[in-house]
Structures are given as C-alpha cells and as structure tokens.
C-alpha cells in the first residue's frame, strides 16, 4: 500500500506559540477569577477583616492576569508585522478573494461535512484556514472590548497613566453598570470560542493527521511533499 510523504514545516514560530499559551493561561485565570468576582463564594471564616485579604487577592490576580493578557496581545500585534506569513496580519485580513474562496471551501468540507470527489490537497490550509482566522479576528475584537471595558472599570482605583487612558469609556457607555454588563457578557463569548476552538483543533488533527494539536507545542505541521519545491526546501509553498 502506497502512503503519502510529508515534510515537517515550521508554521507557528516561537513567539506565536508563546503568545498562544500565555493567552490560554491568562484567559483561564481571568475567567475563573472573573466568576469569583462576579459572584464570590460564601467564606466560612471567623477571622477579622483585618487579617483576611482573600477577595483582594482574587482581584489582584485578576488585574495582574489582565495586564499579562494585554501586553501579550501587544506582543502578538508586533509579531504580526515581523513574523512569518502564517503569523502576519495579512492572514487575518478578511477582504481578499482567496480568503473567501477558502472560507466557502472550509464551510462545505469541515462544517457541513461534505465530501469532494477529487480532493485537491492545495485547498488544505497550512496555517489558519479562513474560518479560523475570521474567528480569531472576532476574538481579537472581543479582546479589545475586554481591554477597554476592563481598564475602564479599573481606572478609578489606579494611579498609573495606562489604565487612565481608558477613563473615557465609562462615560461614553453611560456608566459602570453598562461597562460591567458588557465585560461580563463578552467573557462568555471567550468561553464559547474556546469550546469550538478546542473541538475544531481535535477535529482537524483527527481527520487530516498533520499534527494540528502538536503544532502549537513544537510549531511544526506536516505538509505533503508534493506541495514543497524540490530545489528550495527552505521556502514553503502553499
């Protein structure tokens, strides 16, 4: 039986992987502490308030994780200008014809689960597929909403200029009530995203067998040999 040959391709460079896992961690911490802050558990303690700072610590963790989330995001934006083409901002640009051709293809094959009579290996994305990159674009907007609303709620208790830059958000939205509501609802969108995102990563790994899951650890995906130029193996071809 003849099997296909694959070449190992560095798709996700180190900064991208670093960003991804720091992002994962900070989102998990932010969500957990966020739930605690929204609805703190009953504390069975007879200690005096003077000797306790548990809720303050939860909030401190939330704010620290928020800063990490924020600066990590800036690192990723920077890398979208200097990184490889799979990390580039162009991979997320939703206004190209190529992007939309791929979008319908992914919708047909991976979402509606249709089969092609003559599958074309070149239609399989090496980096993000279009549906995925669109979802990251949406998530990026959600992250911006969280940053703006989060810092807006934080600004009055901070002496630093950075959170103070977001002082205009609350008045614009009509007060902290609305800001908090938006912050809370957007958190749920992160949870929904994570569910679908993790499922689809497993889905692709299972159906394509190109190392989708492990790619976010080692950075490598496996690409069919016939898609790579013979003479110049350094360069990846779509």
């Amino acid at each position: 039986m003849e099997t296909k040959n694959f070449k190992r391709v560095m798709v996700w460079e180190l900064p991208v992987r670093f960003f991804h896992w720091v992002n994962v961690l900070s989102i998990i911490i932010l969500t957990l502490t966020g739930f605690l802050i929204a609805n703190p558990p009953a504390l069975q303690s007879s200690a005096e308030a003077t000797n306790l700072h548990s809720f303050g610590i939860v909030r401190f963790i939330h704010f620290s994780a928020a800063y990490i989330f924020f600066f990590n995001m800036i690192l990723r934006i920077y890398w979208s200008f200097v990184g490889n083409k799979y990390a580039s901002w162009k991979a997320f640009w939703p206004f190209s014809k190529k992007m939309w051709n791929n979008f319908w293809h992914v919708l047909k094959i991976d979402i509606m689960l249709l089969n092609e009579d003559h599958p074309d290996v070149k239609k399989i994305s090496i980096g993000h597929n279009s549906v995925a990159s669109l979802s990251y674009l949406v998530l990026f907007l959600m992250a911006l909403i969280q940053v703006f609303t989060g810092f807006a709620l934080y600004t009055d208790t901070s002496g630093w200029w950075l959170p103070k830059l977001f002082g205009w958000v609350s008045p614009l939205l009509g007060g902290d009530f609305m800001v908090r509501t938006i912050h809370h609802i957007t958190m749920w969108i992160f949870i929904f995203f994570s569910l679908v995102h993790i499922y689809l990563v497993f889905y692709h790994d299972w159906l394509e067998g190109r190392g989708e899951v492990s790619s976010m650890f080692g950075g490598y995906k496996f690409v069919r040999e016939d898609r790579i130029k013979k003479d110049n193996t350094d360069e990846n071809k779509n």
């Binding site: 039986m1 003849e2 099997t3 296909k4 929204a38 609805n39 703190p40 009953a42 504390l43 303690s45 200690a47 308030a49 003077t50 000797n51 306790l52 700072h53 548990s54 809720f55 303050g56 939860v58 909030r59 689960l113 249709l114 089969n115 009055d156 208790t157 002082g167 205009w168 008045p171 009509g174 007060g175 902290d176 009530f177 609305m178 908090r180 509501t181 809370h184 609802i185 749920w188 949870i191 929904f192 569910l195 679908v196 499922y199 889905y203 299972w206 159906l207 067998g209």
Partner: protein, 374 residues
C-alpha cells in the same frame, strides 16, 4: 424669597441681617470649604468672596420630579444654607419655596430673566417630557420644554439637580411613556453641571452653589459633567465596609449573622461598586448615616438608568433583550450546553461522513506499521 431685586446685598450682609454672628459666618465658610474638598487656606477666600459678591440671582425650575432634591437641600448641614442661600436671598423663583404664587410668581421670574439676562443661574429639578408636544408637564399654561428653553436662553450656567434632570430617573425608565428627557439632551450651548442622585446630598448641592458663588466659575467637572469633588469616587471605594469586601466577607441575606456583623453587602446587590457619589464620605442627614451604614445596599441612584439596570437586591448581569429573570450567566450556561451538544453531534457526523477517508488513512498507517524495518 427675595422680593426686592433692586437692592442686591452681598451674601455676608444678608447673613448678618438674618441675625447670624460673624463666627457663624466663618463656620459656614469653613464647612463649605470642607465640603468642596478645599484646603483650609481657601476658607479665607470663600469668606472674602461672600463678603464682596452681590448675591447671584437664581431661578429654580421644577418639572417632572418629586421635590426630593429641594427637600435634601433644605436639610443640608449648616442652617445658613437653608436660611440664606435658598430661602431668603438667592431664590428668585422656585415653585415650592416662594411665597408668591400665580401671576405674581411668573412676573417675578420674567423680571429676573430680563434684568439679569446672562447672569442668573438656572437650577433645574426634574426631567422634561418631550412626548405629545410636552403636554405631560405644564406650568402656568406653558409646557416644561417651552419654559425651560426660555429660562435657559439667558442663564449663565445651568445646574441639573438630581437624577431626573441629569439622567431622567424613574420616569425615564423603560418604556418611558412621556419621553422624559434629561436637560443636557435639550440644551447644548450652556455650561451644565449635573448633580445626579435621588436626591443628591444636600451638602453636595450647597457645595456646588457655593463654588459658583465663591469663585465665579463652575467647579471642575468630569466627563459626564459632574463635579469632580463629589463624584470622583465610587461609593464602594470610600465605603467603611470596604475592608470586608477585600477580606471576602459578605452578607448572604439581610437577616443572617454576617449581615448583623456588618459585612459587605456586595452579594445582596449593593450597587456601590458601580456608583459615583459622595454618600460614603459625606453621609446624609448631617452626617448621621448613609444607606450602607444602615444595612441596605446602595441602589445606584446617581447612575444613569439605574431603574433599568437589573434588580436592586441581586448581583446579576442583565442581558438586554431577555426576560427579567434571566441573567447573563443563565443565558451563558444554556448557550454553552447547546454548543457542546452541537459539537458532539458534529463529531459523530464527521466520523460518519468522512469514514472512507479515515479508514484509508488508518489502513495506510497500519500497513506502514507492519513494514517498519528497524
């Protein structure tokens, strides 16, 4: 109530004429400086300016409101506030507090508006209904909107007393049948000080007026037009129960042990963390207490649309467009469950639809496994 517009006495003269001593006057100036958050060196400046400035003509309009702002004002800390600033001297027109009525009162107002055009302060208590040509609130045969625009035209500055004039308050709560509108949405070309609260604290109101009187200009305002000195901090950030919050000690119900111990009311829906006001630092009724000190959470009365921002006694996030009972977490949990179910179905469908592709790959993998050389 002033009846003699020609004889504009200074504030000091009026205060002394009322029988107060110089000592009372200095105390009053000190109180005011403290309310405004000024340093003690400013007391002299306030006293001096009260000695030299002729009183500011004030027109106080009442529209859709309950007069709780006026009630709050006349109960502010120092008697001079009620006696001099409001009752005797400053007010040229106020439905509630003036002696004159009917045509006489309207004539007094018209006179003030004409004589002190561009000089008088217009205080507005209440929102203005715009629905049905403004017929929901008419005074002296004119609609509130008409009266307001007339008075605003010659005003030096406008003070929006209370949540009605600042945010619309209860009559602007959904569905807002009368189209009650806060005044800053009606007049744009005048400086407007918004002093929200239902009612605002009397001392805050006195402080705002005194600032205008003593310094001849508006106090420093934040982005929403509220005086920074009084609305710069959340109730939560100045609350004396804040240590319990930081410790994670919360009252769970109003009658539990934690509540008796005076723990934080966060979980009972206290809106202090989202509400900008000076209640926790200035308190009410001559500094006796404020809602949280009395065991009841803040309802956020000085915030925009506080009636529509979810239940007073629950710390939930209301989702716009959903029934009142559903909060963000309920909607979120249901959606996440449906989503997880959908993904599971998709996984099953994927394995059925792509079975040929999968089996081929598995078989190729198995054959390679058999042929491993070393």
């Amino acid at each position: 109530m002033s009846t003699n517009n020609e004889n504009r006495k200074t504030y000091y003269e009026s205060i002394i004429n009322q029988g107060y001593s110089r000592r009372d006057f200095m105390k009053f100036s000190t109180y005011m400086a403290a309310f405004m958050g000024l340093e003690s060196s400013m007391v002299g400046q306030i006293a001096q300016s009260l000695e030299n400035t002729p009183r500011l003509p004030v027109i106080w309009e009442h529209y859709q409101e309950c007069t709780c702002c006026s009630e709050s004002f006349i109960r502010s800390n120092h008697p001079i506030v009620a006696d001099i600033i409001l009752d005797r001297i400053s007010l040229d027109y106020s439905l509630t507090l003036m002696a004159a009525s009917g045509h006489q009162a309207e004539a007094a107002k018209a006179e003030t508006m004409k004589k002190y055009h561009g000089e008088y302060i217009l205080c507005v208590e209440g929102s203005i209904p715009l629905g049905d040509d403004g017929n929901y609130c008419c005074i002296a045969g004119k609609s509130a909107k008409e009266t307001f625009l007339e008075a605003a035209a010659g005003a030096k500055a406008i003070i929006a007393w209370g949540s009605c004039a600042s945010n619309g308050c209860v009559q602007a709560a959904k569905p807002n049948p009368t189209e009650a509108t806060p005044i800053h949405k009606i007049v744009k070309n005048k400086p407007i000080i918004r002093v929200p609260g239902c009612p605002p604290i009397g001392e805050v109101m006195a402080g705002v007026i005194m600032h205008v009187v003593a310094f001849g200009r508006l106090p420093k305002l934040d982005r929403l037009g509220r005086p920074k000195a009084f609305y710069g901090k959340r109730v939560h950030d100045t609350c004396y129960r804040r240590p319990y919050y930081d410790a994670g000690l919360f009252a769970e119900t109003f009658d539990d042990d934690n509540s008796k111990k005076g723990y934080c009311l966060y979980k009972l829906g206290c809106k202090g963390p989202m509400t900008y006001n000076a209640c926790a630092s200035m308190k009410w009724n001559n500094g006796v207490s404020f809602p949280i000190q009395s065991g009841h959470g803040c309802i956020g009365c000085s915030e925009e649309e506080f009636w529509d921002n979810g239940p007073f006694y629950e710390r939930t996030t209301k989702v716009p467009g959903f029934a009142v009972e559903s909060n963000a977490d309920t909607v979120g949990k249901v959606t996440a469950g449906v989503l997880a179910g959908g993904l599971a179905l998709h996984a099953i469908a994927a394995n059925i639809s792509k079975r040929k592709e999968l089996m081929d790959r598995i078989n190729r993998g198995k054959s390679n496994e058999k042929n491993i050389d070393s």
